[in-house]
Amino acid sequence: MTTVHVGLPAAVDGGVGASPQRPDGRLKVTGEFAFSSDLWADDMLWGATLRSPHPRARITALDIGPALRVPGVYAVLTHEDVPGAPLYGLEHVDQPVLAAREIRYQGEPIVIVAADHPETARRAARLVEVAYDVLDPVTELAAALDPAGPQVHADRPNLLRHVPIRRGDPHATAAVVVTGEYEVGMQDQAFLGPESGLAVPAEDGGIDLYIATQWLHVDQRQVAACLGLPPEKVRLTLSGVGGAFGAREDLSMQVHACMLALHTGRPVKMVYGREESFFGHVHRHPARLRYEHGADADGRLVYVKARILLDGGAYASSTGAVVANAATLGVGPYDVPNVVMDAYGLYTNNPPCGAMRGFGAVQACFAYESQMDKLAAALGLDPVEVRVRNALTTGDLMPTGQVVEGPAPVAELLRLVRERPPAPAVGDFLPGGTANTTRGEGVVRGVGFGIGIKNVCFSEGFDDFATARVRLELVGGRPAVLVHTAAAEVGQGLVTVQAQIVRTELGVEQVTIAPADTAVGSAGSSSASRQTYMTGGAVRAACQAIRTRLLERLGRAPSTTDNDKKVPFLALEEIAELLGEGAIEETVEWRHRPTHPLDPATGQGDAHVQYAFAAHRATVDVDLELGLVKVVEIVTAQDVGKAVNPGAVAGQIQGGTAQGLGLALMEEIQVVDGKVRNPSFTDYLLPTIMDMPPMSLDVLELADPHSPYGLRGVGEPPTISSTPAVVAAIRAATGAALTRVPVRPEHIVGV
């Protein structure tokens, strides 16, 4: 063998850095795309769920007889019918598949029904007679934190996780001190495609489940355990996902549909309605945050002390990781020598909370950015200036002691959003929109800033990997590639990105992405802004392995400068010739650099893989008398390392910003005494096109030396800092304190 220099293939259209059309784009905008709620099997039954109306109760009697007697009903199952483990969970196995005795949240499933018509199933479920001993719910965080108070779970304390972080001198003092207490309401992911799936019993006694989810393998593990089946008999295939944002990390109807299918021997479809969906998935943790910032006379931070309480609701879900994020990212993208941070996650009888875009970083960012504005005011400094003076940069230490490696352009992002030209003097329309509430009376302009930090990929020593199988073969005499992974396309554009990576790595334009399923190894979750990094990294590694195999066939050893762009790789014709010997397939399990656990006492440790940053400037018009807000413009700057697909990057930044705007102004699940008061899109308000302003984007591409193509996860950062920027702008216009999001008109007006 001779060693030769071969680099990347010559560029083909639609590679990394281009914005080719999504393969599913046209179908989605024309309404033809098949979502999981469109699944169909000819002889299928429909499942329905009976849920508890009470947030805390004890079931004293259960009679399924009336439901069983309904014509058309094929099965009525309770906790006694769960074939395997009675409980499941992402981090802690604490959540019953079906409630046996204890009810811990409103909406907890108790009975499932299969019938030949969805309406029949629902009506039968309502006929089940349940007698409850209704108990007082634990709903206040302070009460939940009290060790002497009532416990949500008899066998475990309410304190799910406490993450303390200690850096420097805990008794440091400072010339200027500002304190604040903040509150974040319960946001919902509010995906448009409700929980749905189809379970089909298989001849081998196993089950095939077609499902909209974020992580097929973590579903498979939990479903198999609850069904008492080996994982290989529980086969999952991803079906069309109508949005996720974290809400599909936990199981919803997966085990239920499989139980009904195995019991009846018929395929069973379950689709939640909009109202049930609000009870069928976890939400963003509501939080109470108390902060004290100390700075010297120049505005340099001396210390931050913080206590963050996160309401985990009835079951753990991913609360532990959310708490760790809130703690480790809780002082923001600032260099702070002394930190005393305590973040707590608690069980309550409120709706269970778990993953949602931003994952613990959102709640903290609202508080620390509000504090930075307060500090600027106390010092008489410009809010951007105070941030710039404290901006984190490469080589600085996080409160965890972790060194910030790679680009950390915090100051640059802030300057970029500050230096954008001001918003137009007159917006598209005034606060109140078309509702004719003002002709300019009481309307005041305000501008606010926010910047945030987010970890990318899974942290704290988690064995985070993604698997990709890539097959290069001749199709009609031309090289073509098939990519097979279990990675969930949840709307973010992963299907597009996988093909782009293949085109760049192999120079082959024709790429097909096989349906994601559990026939290939785990890809990990489509969350934590990680999938382009991880599955993208795995696809790239598999392509590189294929390149090596091609060179071997050619009788050449791969060179060390394999990625040298100047030396072209094989031409398409050469590849075609080499494939005459047969297809080449490579499966790669790819990992990011390992992370490490946090010290349980000091919170020290290299817990995160990569940090990502975004900054926002929001300009708002506020009607001071009515408390109505129109966001006039948002400008943002984000470092994405490498924009693998610039169109998709812009989409993520715009969508994430909108979700943060929603939290600032309107999105809240209102919970009173453990009960959800607004489980509908009539009263859970999402921003409309009239609420989202025009945006301008600055996308930086400062490569991270450790990630594929230098990319940085993009999905979450825009959600994090848009909330505090919008609120800061409202404060600037009104002078109101606004310590809670969503901001309501009555908070602005003060009545």
Partner: protein, 283 residues
């Protein structure tokens, strides 16, 4: 569930008499939500969309007869001159899809305290034409509502039309929502100046068990406005008008807003709309 599909108004009235439990459906933008949320499972639906005359309007002397089935989109497009307050309210209803389907008859049928058509109809002094095989009766709109989602509509009756005098003066409608479009009113207010009668009409939405007028505010303003001179408004009169409108409300705290905010917002809307309308009247 039976689906009754009359082709004529006479058939519709006959069917409603025979099946008083049948739920009329016009645009379906309330009915279908109730069905989809499993809040209601009526034994029968009575489809009114095939009855052409229901979705027409015409002017008879000084009375405009607005068929119950005329959509918000058409009110915006066709009646901005004659019924400016209602047209403004129509513009704030839902989204374009909802405005294409939703009707004033349906709004009245639902009788929600938050129905956006109600305040301008109250301010304009409209009457509702109710029909059954027994005959037809006219009910002043401020006597139509009897409670939250309740009205004087009898089980065998249908809403045929709304009778209203085209505006003789400026009308305004203003609505508070916590987002800038597609929102159910937190509270709303409609104002009509009737310079011909030197009268003022008002309508309050989403701030009492039913849509209602602010009668005292109407009388106060009618007496205080400088009709003769068409001169500038006295700020004290404007302020007092706002107070009286707020006082006429009986709001509650709910997911959409607090009672205190609703009252406060009504006063602001009353002041502003009076100011705008007076300015429009004076040219």
């Amino acid at each position: 569930m039976d689906f009754l599909n009359p082709a004529t108004w006479a058939d519709a009235l006959k069917m409603k008499a025979e099946r008083p439990d049948a739920v009329p459906i016009a645009g379906g933008t309330d009915v279908m939500v109730e069905l989809n949320f499993h809040r209601r499972r009526p034994p029968a639906l009575l489809d009114l969309t095939r009855i052409g005359e229901l979705s027409t309007w015409d002017l008879d002397g000084d009375t405009l007869r607005l068929g119950a089935g005329v959509s918000y989109a058409r009110i915006m497009a066709e009646l901005g001159e004659q019924l400016p307050g209602l047209a403004m309210a129509a513009r704030t209803v839902g989204s374009p899809q909802i405005r294409n389907r939703g009707t004033v008859g349906g709004n009245l049928g639902s009788a929600s305290p938050a129905g956006d058509a109600h305040p301008p109809l109250l301010a304009a002094g409209a009457r509702v034409e109710l029909a059954s095989v027994r005959g037809t009766r006219l009910v002043p709109v401020d006597e139509f509502f009897t409670g939250p989602k309740r009205s004087v509509l009898a089980p065998d009756e249908l809403i045929a039309a709304v009778l209203v005098r085209p505006a003789a003066g400026p009308e305004q409608f203003s609505k508070i929502g916590t987002r800038n479009a597609m929102v159910i009113a937190v509270s709303s207010f409609a104002l009509a100046l009737h310079p011909d009668r030197r009268a003022v009409g008002t309508g309050i939405g989403s701030a009492a068990p039913t849509p209602r007028r602010a009668a005292e505010a109407e009388l106060f303003a009618a007496g205080q406005l400088p009709w003769d001179t068409l001169g500038a408004l006295d700020p004290d009169v404007v302020r007092r008008f706002g107070e009286l409108v707020a006082a006429a409300a009986a709001p509650i705290d709910d997911v959409r807003g607090t009672a205190a905010y609703r009252r406060h917002a009504l006063a602001v809307m009353a002041r502003r709309t009076l100011t705008w309308a007076w300015r429009d009247l004076c040219g």
